[in-house]
């Protein structure tokens, strides 16, 4: 196992990276905290009793009257945050006795993506008006009260994959029945997200990019290039070429949207009975940026499926051209093939950084509860790299 000096970063090195890769304020805060804590203790499974004790204190400061927490349990799924569900019996401000189920999402010491809980919290709050998103109630962005950065949201019923038996396989598609039910809702919600007007929402955790400028794109490149420098175990020259190309070709943003950055199958819940999408999940990577990034990300071969007729479906849902045509019609926003091609490279480059740099880095430090899963995700890297190579070929 490679153990290098990045496991014990010096303050001077951390500062040099901050200067070299200027990015959004809260992104900088998160990455700086990650690096300052890197030499700290490894992740250990939390005692449920201690999480409940902190949670009781946290809620006690926010709820008036008596309350009780029951059925506290760990949840599976997700590669980054530790998730728990619990039932809360409490009395609301109108004096009505309530019993609701909530999800507590907590950041481990380091995860496959280091993100700021307040960004996730604000974006979910904002876009709830337009698309189904779990209601978010409380946030502890620094982990000052809950021990780790965390947010608490309403629990939503639903599944991420159609019910099925048998061994795990990464390519568990939706199948024709659920595809027909889910695809129209999925494209509609992605289009709603792109056209959502965020300007009257609280977005204080974001630095909104200027329209007709590529400044926001450069900040995003800095974000992920900084992560690469912080985490990479060994160099991969194709990624260096990709970063150079992205800087040289960064397009101005024509319309600033919330960009989810992980909008795909597996990150939404639906009811198995009727296929209704009940919640879009995993908002941790959200930023204000160019809608083409979400589209390009979805086009990754990692999320494709070959249907019964041998046609490749992006996101396992639609042929690419059909998806884009529907998206344009529903969002009222054009899809520019040049920008889409740019964000193809961007998304594949970013995805490669998660798995080639951050995944082995956090495994080395035993920083997460999901070592085994992020290690498994590394097996998908060659497919992403192959698509990145294809996207760059002829452009470099």
């Amino acid at each position: 196992m490679i153990l290098d000096e990045k496991q014990h970063p010096s303050p001077a090195w951390i500062e040099s990276l901050r200067r070299r890769y200027p990015t959004e304020r809260t992104v900088d805060e998160t990455l700086t905290a990650k690096m300052r804590n890197r030499a700290g203790p490894r992740h250990r499974p939390q005692s449920i009793d201690s999480v409940i004790a902190r949670l009781k204190q946290f809620l006690g400061r926010r709820l008036s009257g008596t309350f009780s927490i029951t059925a506290f349990r760990g949840l599976a799924g997700g590669s980054s945050k530790e998730q728990f569900a619990f039932d809360l019996a409490w009395t609301d401000s109108a004096g009505v006795a309530r019993r609701d189920t909530y999800v507590l999402r907590m950041a481990p010491a380091e995860s496959i993506v280091a993100t700021h809980a307040l960004r996730e919290f604000q974006a979910m709050n904002a876009v709830r008006a337009a698309i189904p998103v779990p209601a978010v109630h409380w946030c502890d962005p620094e982990g000052a009260e809950l021990g780790q950065p965390a947010l608490i949201a309403s629990f939503c019923e639903g599944v991420t994959r159609p019910p099925r038996e048998g061994a795990y396989t990464p390519r568990q598609g939706f199948g024709p029945k659920y595809r027909a039910l889910l695809a129209p809702q999925f494209v509609r919600y992605l289009a709603e997200l792109a056209k959502f007007d965020w300007r009257s929402s609280d977005v204080s955790a974001f630095d909104p990019p200027a329209v007709d400028s590529n400044e926001g794109v450069i900040k995003a490149i800095n974000w992920w290039e900084r992560v690469w420098e912080e985490d990479c175990v060994e160099r991969y020259p194709l990624l260096t070429l990709a970063a150079q190309w992205l800087r040289d070709n960064a397009p101005p943003i024509d319309h600033v949207s919330f960009v989810h950055r992980d909008f795909r199958g597996g990150n939404f819940l639906f009811r198995p009975a009727d296929g209704k999408i009940t919640a879009i999940l995993d908002w941790e990577l959200v930023q204000l940026g160019d809608r083409h990034e979400d589209l390009a990300y979805l086009c990754s071969p990692l999320f494709s499926e070959i249907d019964e007729n041998g046609v490749e479906l992006i996101g396992g849902l639609y042929p690419r051209d059909e998806f884009i045509r529907l998206y344009e019609a529903l969002s009222g926003l054009p899809v520019d093939p040049v920008r889409l091609a740019y964000y193809d490279v961007f998304s594949l480059w970013r995805g490669s950084i998660h798995v080639l740099a951050t995944a082995p880095r956090i495994m080395m430090g035993e920083k997460t509860h999901q070592d085994i899963r992020v290690g498994w995700m590394i097996s998908a890297t060659p497919l992403t790299l192959s698509a990145l190579h294809r996207a760059l070929k002829g452009r470099i």
Partner: protein, 183 residues
């Protein structure tokens, strides 16, 4: 190679120890017993895996020494002469390997990391100060090498199930041979 085997084995041990074992019902004695054996097994593999080749080389060297000594004293009956002739042939086959200087897996990985680092530095320098022709040529070479590396990596991880059409990929053996023949 990312991730290396030690990292993967270590993650499996952590998963078994921190997640699976504590979740097993106390009365599932067989499952608990076997999960604990798995932890032990993986621990042994973590210690052994990058020394396997070295271990075999030591064994080869020791047996060559033993056999050499036995052959020197082997005279007399035809059966002894026959066996000694076969032993000399076996020693002749082993000799070139014994004369090679073969690096340890860790040393090899460190060398590769250092070459990758140097490629990166040259790419960055070329972008900063290189002529357009040198920049272009460097990029082209990196793209060509990346194509071979990615094919090798896809074959290496073919069994993970992430590939859309895994049957279209060469086997690990074929892709390693292909790369060796090209270099």
């Amino acid at each position: 190679m990312v991730p290396d085997f030690a990292l993967r084995i270590h993650a499996m041990i952590r998963s078994l120890r921190d997640v699976v074992l504590p979740a097993l019902p106390k009365n599932e004695m067989l499952a608990i017993d076997q999960a604990n054996i798995l932890v032990g097994y993986l621990g042994i593999m973590a210690e052994q895996h990058d020394r396997v080749f070295e271990y075999l080389l030591v064994e080869l060297s020791e047996y060559a020494e033993l056999l050499g000594a036995l052959v020197e004293d082997a005279h007399g009956a035809p059966s002894i002469e026959d066996a000694a002739a076969k032993a000399r042939a076996a020693l002749d086959m082993a000799a070139p390997v014994l004369q090679m200087s073969i690096p340890r897996q860790g040393e090899l990985s460190a060398l590769i990391r250092s070459l990758k680092e140097s490629v990166d530095e040259l790419l960055l320098a070329a972008r900063q100060d290189g002529t357009p022709a040198y920049r272009q040529a460097s990029r082209k070479r990196v793209m060509q090498q990346a194509e071979r590396q990615i094919l090798r990596e896809r074959a290496w991880f073919r069994a993970s199930g992430f590939e859309l059409e895994p049957s279209q990929l060469p086997s690990i053996k074929d892709v390693l041979l292909l790369n060796r023949n090209n270099s």
